[in-house]
Amino acid sequence: MHIPDGYLSPQTYVPLYGASIAFWAIALRKMKKELSTKHVPYIAMSAAFSFLIQMFNIPIPGGTTGHAVGAGIITLLLGPWTAVLSVSVVLIIQALVFGDGGITAIGANCFNMAVVMPFVSYWTFKLLAGGGTASRRRFVAAFLSGYLGLLLAAVATGVQFGIQPSIAHAPDGRPLYAPYPLSIALPAMAVEHLLLFCFLEGIITLLLFRYFVRHESSLVYALKGA
């Protein structure tokens, strides 16, 4: 889901840089208010986890590959704003050091995986988990928060790919950037994720959520005020 350089027109990547920068600014302000020293090692570990889990490329036999992102579980454990910052740092290092995702597309990739995903995960959990202590319901909510978070990130990415041909094309009608129209790009991104990669994200979110609820429940952001 890491959009490389050249796939997005400036009309797309510049506004998405703007959107991501706005979210980074709010995230930093929120964290400044709420951050306690005790959380610092966990924030660092959350980014390390996201970095590593993205290295596990999962194949669709004979087709493409994809991976989990980890933003769902980071949101449940540390909150959506911490997830914004943590996953953004991961995506920026991936782009700068490893060429995974373009430099011009850092804003877009951060918007999809470090803004859309954490907030979809957050609201999914919030809406489905309920206030009570019914733990099975909470675990279902945790699974779906990972599943839907990644799915919407993939949909956002598919839309950004898909609108390119109508935004910019050469005089002969050939697209200048990402070549496939929405009718191909959106289903391609959505279907491979909803069939495979989102399940992986959901299961990871569920298992780690359960682990933390059992062993260090005072840390779990999503349980606060529940």
């Binding site: 660092a44 596990f56 999962i58 036999p61 060429g99 373009g102 990402a178």
Partner: protein, 114 residues
Amino acid sequence: MERFQRKLWVGLLILAVLTPIGIFLPEMFNAGDAWGEWGVETLEKLLGYVPEGLKQYADVWKAPIPDYNFGRDEASMGTQVLSYILSGIIGIVLVGLALVGISKFLVRHERHER
């Protein structure tokens, strides 16, 4: 360091050592690039041409460790696997340091203001 945190770090290191699964699985199931992340040569094959704008931007950045690989594109499996694990470790050190740095700065800033 707390025992619980130490346990988590050990878990992360184990995960780093296991990352080559992310190379082996796609190889085993004959899967290629992620959708929309094709290189210029692959696009040429898919479309019969390379979009003009894309061509201009494609090499705008030269990453020091492209594709988590220290070797060349055609590096042996052994090199790829070692590079991948090493990249994982470099990656977690870099993101870890960056976030500790940012967090420390935010905490200090906060105390200063109060």
